[in-house]
Symmetry: D2
Subunit: 385 residues, 4 copies
């Protein structure tokens, strides 16, 4: 096996390993629009390799099923008609077994394809395919947690999957002095288009906390009526709170005066010393206001990253998701990967307990709408120098 | 085995037979609120026996799972807290296997319970349990068809399940002359509370068609722009058409100028001679207006029933679902069975290809909101004498 | 002045008298879709005479403004394009002054037209125009009360308009013995198409209360947690309560433990002895259930009417609004008057303090969707004999 | 009269001058939530002076009406309970006349108050009150145009109010070379908190068009199917187009193949040479994509501003509305002025034909949600150096 084949196998099998603990039924549900059924992720990532490598470059490739592109395209308008996202959970067919067969079919042909030499362009698409599947691995964790965590039976996903391990992090702050800094990917190894365009920024100076906010600190915020006190919140955030009735992180429950959260290990008492997870940007911002501090910008974060112990929580920043200078969308369907989302979303930096190994770097820009809570995110506070 | 046991086994096994052709995935989805996941039906009908017979009357009955009542109660407010209906499709656990175990557990204890003598009250509840499960058998067909029929792959449910067999019915009309008639159940055999209160009505006279409306006749209505012509439609119906964009029966598709419908046998060309199915009350009413005729009232239908060949389609009537004179809701949770739905719904009479044998009689009152299309319904026209 | 002219003047001036106490601003608002701006009513009733009499029958009639038909048609699809109902409140032009000019223009030409002989058909349309305007006079009261009653300043409409005068009604019941009765209008004087088709019905016997339900009785229901107790309510009603948060009649307020209601005389303490007003069918039904009684059917009501002192409250009945036997919609736009509403609505019988004199009769069928509260309605209870 | 008094009178009378051409009815409507009734603006700006100057600092000030604060507070949560925004259009009282009396009352007391010496704090609040009223003057124009422009009669606001005067602007580009620049207000004269925090930014270099995009250029975009071609649009923008059905700037109409727009002078043929107005950020962005260019950032714009002829259109930028470094919300209710909107909105720079004189400066940051079209906005294109 050559390197491409090995990497392919390793990444592809990780997706299936994530789904291993599931029952067939768990693969099907889409409880809210943002959460896709696990079987959809498994099929969609295969569709990616079939559509962007096998069909264009392997002459005799026998398409697995001509209806699958319609079912498993996500948002690549340029790649053809696609099923509307909210209907994913209604598609009981193809079955999970069918989809594993689809994966096996794609894998067989991909491994054959990878046995030969690849052009530069093919290598680039392959790398995107790898990273694309890794992104869906992270989403698989989010979505599986959402599906199981909203079941009244609170089923265990994996008894040894610990999300709230306590990190003994040094206290104090990392300083980023006033000055010009270079931001963006340096070109070594893979990166997404949204990290490109290495450029200079001027920063006014910041101090960034070495520790993440803990559950205990956030509990104080709740108990200090942080959710009710309008002054900490954006106007849009208040509308969101009013409409949703949200007054706590996702998966938190209060039973007979005690706080619990749903974890992959089932329902557990909240560990006050562990790092907080599952709060939206709105909540992260309000919490920082209450503390008299703020969120770091994505540029401050990237500048300080080498001195921070990051990687367990995607960390909210105060930066809107916008293109870097000279940003150009790639041509074709791949061009839809990032650029079309560059409005109304906020940047998160770092990585999480759900991030596949080798899929994080300090220039990585993750992004979500500001009300979403189901990612494995957290808060790191900053202040002006 | 005594009679109760035999009937119990026969009815319970029919529910499972209906689900036999399904894949596990098909048991899970709830594509719209009115459609429940098949596994929910299987569990809910078992919950009924457990709640209303085993728990009250079998001392040592070991409850299968104390969380199931919360999950599988439907609308019996008096029987305790229940999960909200729109969330049924998100509940991937308990698994299908768990639910079959639940059924087996209930069945074992029920068969033991039925081996002894039953009080009158117990017999009455048992009869309701039987009829309740039979009603869900009919709903199972509707819901399975909806789940499979909205899948872009149009999977076959059962290749020999023919919904559109052609009936060679004599033409002409059955006359119901002006006069007083007795309506309602005569007390022999089982009946629901909504059929009770045998009473007199006065009818002004009607002629009722011996034949049901065919697909071909309805196609004429479509092609005569029946859906666009406002004068045939209720005001609420027009709002429904505008909002939903509906312009044909459920499951009808037009591909390259030809009409098809999804059936349990897969997608098939429409058979113009077969009886129409899957039109709402609004559409049935508009079609009748276009024909210069009308729908029969439920009283006319019941009076003519012995002279009609009914049983393949639930037939729309022009009657609102209201209580009969002297109607009294039964006490307790069972009292919620029918009475609380007696507003905003229209009566259908007859039975359908999905109705279990022995679960139809001429006094049976079925009822649905006027916009629903997913039942196995049809149109029989009437006119004044 | 001939009789037609006199009646025309009298009815037309009554509409304007109703609006006399308004400020210009009050003519404009449409706080919810069901409530039309008063200026719209004034214009729409004029549009009716212009469209159905002046334009077809008066050769040289100079149309007031060719854009008005678009603006002031309500639901007569056959009479041409029309503005969507929810936008009425956004139309600040034509101004109130313009609309009074429109009325004067139509009045001038109508009085000229009425000076001559009318054909039978013209007389019929004229009568419908009279009754149509009278119906809008009643609606004007409802809508004006809604607009002023939802203003935080609770402005007085007319200080001597008493809605809650106490009637000293004899106690006891009127009996309607089991038997056949004739229902519907007898043809003397004006009637709407929905009253036609005089026909026989069979009634099983009822006793109907001589007194209307009072505010005090309804307060008992509220205080007995009638709104929370699911057993009194229809399933659709509970959904309505949950969604709207309604837990009292419209216009009722509780301030520092005391109950008040908004009336045309401003905010006043609730008079417990006065007849209840502003409850939906759902509430009327639930109240009757709580009392162990029921609402009369519209047929029982009509049969007993001569022995009842009715006319202050439209009275909820247990009858769905359906066509009488042999009902035929009139031809043309006038045909849209009643028939298209014969689904999803319940019948009210009687008349109210807002009903113009000479616009009530015992065969009159009023109808509304079951959740609406803004009419001047009330409850009269019945029970089986 | 001292300077404060003169300025006060001049600004206050300008608001009333803007409303002069209105009919009373026009003051009342709120056709969509973002558009407030003109009478509300007139009252709210008076409420500001009453609440933040007269009540705290004028001992014997007789409050005009104790219910007005509830009615005319907008979003200042700290200043007390307030009526929900969507209900403003339903409030027919207080009347327009009442509100002019309220203005006169406030003016009388303000002029007396201003006759004396003011503390620094009072002067600051006064300045905010002036600028606040000027902002509402601009909004008054937007809202009046929306109310009149959505009336089917297309009424003229003011026959000599020309929005589409042609500017003969030199062609070509202003260059902003790569480098560090200082951004933010320099402290001379009034500015809002969101302009404070003068700070350095690094720019990579840009060329900014001296001319605004014209109607003619935008027509080309429409005719090149720019609205249909997904590749120019953000993902959120496509959802917005799909839901709203928007396919043109606000106020544009196509009649018999020719393009018109509603203007304050009534409906007019579109002048292709005049500067485009009434496109959302989404549309501005898509247009720029189609042109192969981009929107300038707010920092590029501010840097180039002295070399641009701006002031007729608020100009869309590619910058999200975020706090400047070291941004601190002012204490108390005034602190809610800007900070709570710093999410989900995009920055516009410049000024418009509706901007009061002396209410624009190059550091001014205007901001709106990216789908809004009703401002007097336009497009200026930029490209990388």
């Amino acid at each position: 096996m050559n390197q491409h084949q090995e990497k392919y196998k390793s990444i592809r099998s990780h997706s299936e390993a994530i789904c291993k603990p599931l029952q067939i039924e768990d693969y099907v549900a889409q409880p809210v629009e943002d959460v896709s059924p696990p079987k959809w992720h498994l099929a969609h990532t295969s569709w990616f390799f079939e559509t962007f490598l096998l069909k264009p470059y392997v002459k005799a490739y026998p398409e697995f099923d001509p209806q699958y592109p319609y079912l498993f395209n996500s948002y690549y308008v340029a790649a053809g008609e696609r099923m509307l996202r909210p209907n994913r959970g209604n598609m009981t067919r193809p079955t999970v077994e069918d989809i594993y067969k689809f994966r096996a079919h794609v894998d067989k042909h991909m491994l054959a394809f990878l046995s030969g030499d690849l052009t530069n362009e093919q290598q680039e698409i392959l790398e995107i395919g790898f990273n694309h599947e890794q992104q869906h691995q992270e989403l698989l964790f989010y979505d599986i947690k959402y599906i199981l965590g909203h079941n009244p039976l609170f089923p265990v996903y994996k008894i040894d999957f610990e999300e709230y391990k306590i990190e003994n992090e040094a206290s104090g702050f990392v300083e980023v002095p006033k000055g010009n800094y270079t931001i963006g990917h340096n070109g070594e190894g893979f990166s997404f288009d949204n990290e490109h365009g290495r450029h200079e920024v001027h920063l006014e100076g910041a101090a960034i906390n070495k520790q993440l906010v803990t559950n205990g600190e956030y509990l104080e915020f709740i108990e200090a009526n942080g959710y009710e006190n309008h002054e900490f919140w954006h106007s849009d955030a208040r509308a969101w709170l009013d409409e949703s009735g949200i007054d706590r992180p996702l998966y938190w429950h209060k039973q007979e005066g005690k706080w619990y959260y749903y974890t992959f290990q089932g329902l557990k008492p909240i560990d006050e010393k562990a790092s907080l997870m599952h709060i939206s940007f709105y909540e992260a911002f309000a919490f920082a206001q209450w503390k008299g501090m703020r969120l770091p910008t994505e540029f401050e974060w990237e500048t300080a990253a080498d001195q921070l112990n990051w990687g367990k929580r995607w960390e909210h920043t105060g930066s809107a998701y916008l293109p870097y200078p000279r940003y150009k969308k790639p041509e074709g369907a791949i061009g839809e990967y990032n650029g079309k989302f560059m409005v109304n979303q906020m940047v998160l930096r770092g990585a999480s307990i759900g991030t596949p190994s080798n899929h994080s770097r300090k220039t990585y820009r993750n992004f979500f709408h500001p009300h979403l809570q189901w990612q494995f995110n957290g808060i790191r506070l900053a202040k002006d120098l």
